[in-house]
């Protein structure tokens, strides 16, 4: 029992500091007026036509991103999971790359590619056709939907690919031998079975689009429209209307919670994994002469998400004028010099980012390891509640969390605003669910028998933990560390509300550079961020022996 109390006290404190306090203040401020409680802030927020438009824009954006993500992610998942399309490993690798690419970097890259005036693709189009009008304008709602979707479709891909991997070919063959042609099999067996995964992938994509700040800020603001997240951000600009921002955050929070609940129900319905018996191999469908066209289609999608953006960032980092053709005269390292030595806040921001990333990853990994061990081995009373609470921050979009933290920690007793600690709290809260999911899977895969076998032979619990559990869990916990680390270095939506001039981080500096039109420096920092991300991903893959998307190599 005393053990339970200690864990509970610790978890309760963490919970209060990380979630209850910020969200409590958020809720409170949204209804508090000069004379007691009031709904005036909600009324103000939801009757303001500008804010109504922002809300509508978000709905439109999220819906289309969900749809486009399904349209891209589902066929890709089917091709790589079930067919003999060439280069399946390569395609999976590219999907993974798109998954870990910070979306705001992609948005910057697409500004350089498809900005109406200087965008490289448009320049090329004009020079080829002699037309005056640009081919593409990324500063539009369709442009925004496109740029968000190419980094969001991996959520659909993962759900669908992992489900397809669970559906045994037997189920399809059983339909075929009873007289169903290929289309009938797909319509009556395969599709109904992947439908829950498809719908839940759609919801995850919608959630991403709802919570995203960077891409709308980069693409929607110049186009002259707002989404909920950019609107909340602008309410924080001078003069700040914190109460209205709070009132505007609450529906976003509720929508997220509701959608996640629906998603959970979808996946929880009836056992969709194969029923009964063993067998259950998955056979590969031969595409015949469609093999190469299928690969080409995959690569076209991937050129939008990876090849073109990465290429333009590399070009931007190494050229004097990114919009000019690559030539010897145009090649330079000046952008690196500018970024690292001349531009004021870069170096401090890199240091801040790395410090925060390492600190958050270490403390976060330790916490999730402890908590998932405790819940998996049912060491305390009410372990299900612990698991629920650790996962709870998943429903809090970064911007909303930031509003809450801002309100909670700009006033006594804890004045953390202006320090790195408030960013640390934001990151820890935001990344906790991801880390916990990873650690939980790790301990779930270590049967308690392995520990019991050691105890029967005479080793105590601590010794078992050190000599049996820890070595087995090590790689899984390293992976959790890496997931948290990657999450922190790319974080923008909470940082953008919580930073102060002395506590800038890399993503914020990139955002500042955009205001100044410093695309060369953005490219340099972008490459640094991608380098850090991919190095960490490589570490995860080495630790887990499988790729991050879920398949064993």
């Amino acid at each position: 029992m005393d053990r339970s109390i200690a864990v509970w006290v610790g978890a309760a404190v963490a919970l209060v500091v990380l979630i209850a306090l910020p969200l409590g203040w958020l809720g409170w401020l949204s209804v508090s007026g000069e004379h007691g409680t009031t709904l005036a802030h909600y009324r103000d927020a939801f009757t303001d036509p500008a804010l109504q438009r922002a809300l509508w824009n978000t709905v439109v954006l999220a819906f289309w991103v969900g749809l486009v993500s399904v349209a891209i992610g589902a066929p890709l998942a089917w091709l790589t999971a079930r067919t003999d399309v060439p280069g399946r490993g390569l395609i999976r690798g590219l999907v993974l790359a798109s998954f870990v690419t910070p979306p705001f970097l992609g948005a910057f890259a697409w500004v350089m590619l498809a900005g109406p005036n200087a965008g490289i693709l448009n320049t090329f189009w004009r020079s080829v056709t002699g037309a005056d009008a640009p081919l593409l304008n990324i500063f539009t709602m369709p442009g925004l939907v496109f740029v968000v979707s190419i980094y969001t479709f991996p959520y659909v891909y993962i759900m669908v690919a992992n489900t397809l991997a669970l559906i045994a070919s037997d189920l399809e063959e059983a339909a075929a031998i009873l007289g169903a042609g290929r289309l009938a099999v797909a319509r009556t067996v395969t599709l109904p079975m992947v439908l829950p995964a498809l719908a839940s992938g759609f919801i995850l994509a919608v959630l991403q689009a709802l919570a995203l700040f960077g891409s709308p800020a980069i693409l929607a603001l110049p186009a002259g429209f707002h989404t909920v997240t950019t609107q909340i951000w602008s309410l924080f600009q001078f003069p700040p209307k914190v109460e209205q921002a709070a009132a505007f955050s609450v529906p976003l929070l509720l929508a997220t919670a509701l959608l996640l609940d629906i998603q959970k129900r979808l996946l929880g319905r009836r056992g969709y994994a194969a029923v009964g018996g063993k067998g259950g191999q998955r056979r590969i469908i031969a595409l015949g002469r469609w093999r190469w066209p299928a690969l080409a289609a995959c690569l076209v999608v991937m050129s939008g998400a990876i090849f073109l953006p990465y290429g333009v960032l590399a070009k931007g980092a190494f050229s004097r004028a990114w919009a000019q053709p690559l030539s010897r005269d145009n090649l330079t390292l000046a952008n690196f010099a500018f970024t690292f030595f001349e531009y004021g806040s870069t170096r401090a921001a890199i240091v801040n980012t790395l410090e925060l990333a390492v600190l958050t990853a270490c403390i976060g990994a330790a916490m999730v390891a402890l908590l998932s061990y405790v819940t998996n081995r049912r060491l305390v009373v009410g372990h299900q509640l612990v698991a629920f609470l650790v996962l709870a921050p998943v429903v809090v979009p970064g911007v909303v969390l930031a509003v809450g933290l801002f309100i909670a920690y700009t006033r006594p007793p804890f004045v953390l605003y202006g320090t790195l600690w408030i960013l640390f709290l934001a990151y820890l809260t935001k990344e906790m669910p991801v880390g916990y999911a990873q650690a939980d899977a790790t301990f779930r895969a270590i049967p308690a028998d392995l520990e019991d076998a050691g105890r029967v032979l005479g080793a105590g619990r601590l010794r078992i933990l050190k000599e049996i559990t820890a070595p087995l869990a090590k790689s899984g916990i390293i992976a959790a560390w890496c997931f948290i680390f990657i999450g922190v270095i790319r974080e923008l939506s909470a940082s953008i509300l919580l930073f102060t001039p002395s506590t800038k981080v890399m993503s914020v500096v990139i955002f500042d550079l955009k205001e100044e039109g410093q695309f060369g420096a953005i490219s340099v920092l972008g490459l640094v961020m991608l380098g850090l991300t991919f190095a960490t991903v490589a570490l995860v893959q080495a630790a887990l022996g499988r790729d991050v998307l879920g398949a064993r190599r």
Binding site: E173, I177, G276
Partner: protein
């Protein structure tokens, strides 16, 4: 009810020949078991018959229709067959009734009301009346098995294919389902190909058994044929337990193993050639040693091990003056203890010469 003819089928996976010039004929209405160890090509053969695989050589005929050849394969959905899978392959998103009714959707000329009636009737036959609206996930393993059977039979297929359908059931249920499948076969009389690695299952269920070895048919025959007249060492050892004695033929009806001479039923042995004999343990007769107990195929021996199995005792007996050790299954009385001297007798007809099939 057509029969099935497989002519010289071959199918390779990479460098491995899963099925190798395999020929087999199934009579109309017959239940034929494909029996063999894992990797012998039995499942590949079944999948060739179902049309999921294209043969590299050979043809598959059902009645007067050529269904498979290296150049043309009628797809599974147009073969008028049904199949029961090892995993049952029940669709978890459909109810029992929807699972069973599925194949009827693709049969022309069946009205919806007729369809429902047939499904109900078939579920009654497999003793699942009243389970129409359950989902497969809510059924036990045996019930899932019955749904799979109902789903296959309701379409009245010309050919029924079964791929180790009982291997996921526990021992008691497996025994029960063997007789159930046999009963259904006798009721419907569908030409059936049954893949299994379990010899007793094959012996209970089938009319004839084809023993497969390394992608070829080693021997086809009734259970009785295969047990009493195995043609190769592989078949002899795979069907039931046996003693295999290697030796050299000394005449057309005798084989020498070292100093021992074994008489076999008069047959076509070539004197001087190497030959192996199969002797079933229960055909080794044991008695207490008495003076003058000599004669053809009579040997002295010593009991090395004895295991009491209830209806029989399983002995291991070292033959005097030889390195030969024979297993014998004898009645519980008289009982011989370990170390006891015994006399063994084997009827010449119980010594079956084996071809060098392997």
């Amino acid at each position: 009810m057509p029969g099935v003819i497989l002519k010289g089928l071959s199918k390779r996976y990479g460098d491995v020949g899963a099925v190798n010039d395999l020929s087999l004929e199934m009579k109309p209405g017959e239940l034929l078991a494909l029996l063999g160890p894992s990797g012998c090509g039995k499942t590949t053969t079944l999948r060739l018959v179902a049309g999921f695989l294209t043969p590299e050589a050979g043809e598959i005929w059902v009645g007067d229709r050529c269904l498979s050849s290296p150049t043309a394969v009628v797809p599974p959905e147009r073969r008028r067959m049904a199949m029961i899978f090892q995993s049952y392959a029940l669709w978890p998103h459909m109810t029992v009734a929807q699972n069973v009714a599925y194949g009827l959707r693709f049969k022309p000329g069946i009205a919806r009301s007729d369809r429902d009636a047939r499904v109900r009737e078939m579920l009654r036959v497999v003793q699942l009346g009243g389970y129409e609206h359950r989902y497969p996930g809510e059924l036990s393993g045996g019930q899932q098995q019955r749904v799979a059977v109902a789903r296959a039979l309701v379409v009245e297929p010309e050919i029924l294919l079964l791929d180790e359908p009982l291997s996921n059931l526990d021992a008691n249920l497996r025994e029960e389902m063997r007789f159930e499948i046999r009963r259904l076969h006798e009721t419907f009389g569908i030409t059936t190909l049954y893949v299994t690695h379990d010899q007793s299952e094959a012996m209970v269920i089938s009319d004839r058994i084809a023993v497969l070895q390394a992608g070829r048919v080693a021997q086809v025959g009734t259970a009785d044929d295969l047990y009493h007249r195995p043609r190769t060492r592989f078949v002899a050892e795979f069907i039931g337990r046996t003693n295999v004695v290697d030796g050299v033929a000394t005449s057309f009806d005798a084989v020498a193993h070292g100093a021992l001479r074994l008489h076999v039923a008069p047959g076509g042995l070539q004197p001087g050639t190497r030959v192996a004999l199969s002797i079933r343990p229960h055909q080794v007769q044991l008695s207490a040693p008495v003076e003058g107990a000599e004669g053809a195929n009579t040997f002295r021996g010593t009991v090395r091990r004895a295991a009491f199995l209830g209806d029989t005792i399983d002995y291991e007996i070292a033959i005097a003056g030889s390195d030969l050790v024979l297993r014998a299954a004898a009645a519980p009385t008289p009982r011989f203890e370990v170390g006891a001297a015994v006399v063994l007798r084997v009827a010449p007809g119980a010594c079956v010469p084996l071809g060098d099939g392997d």
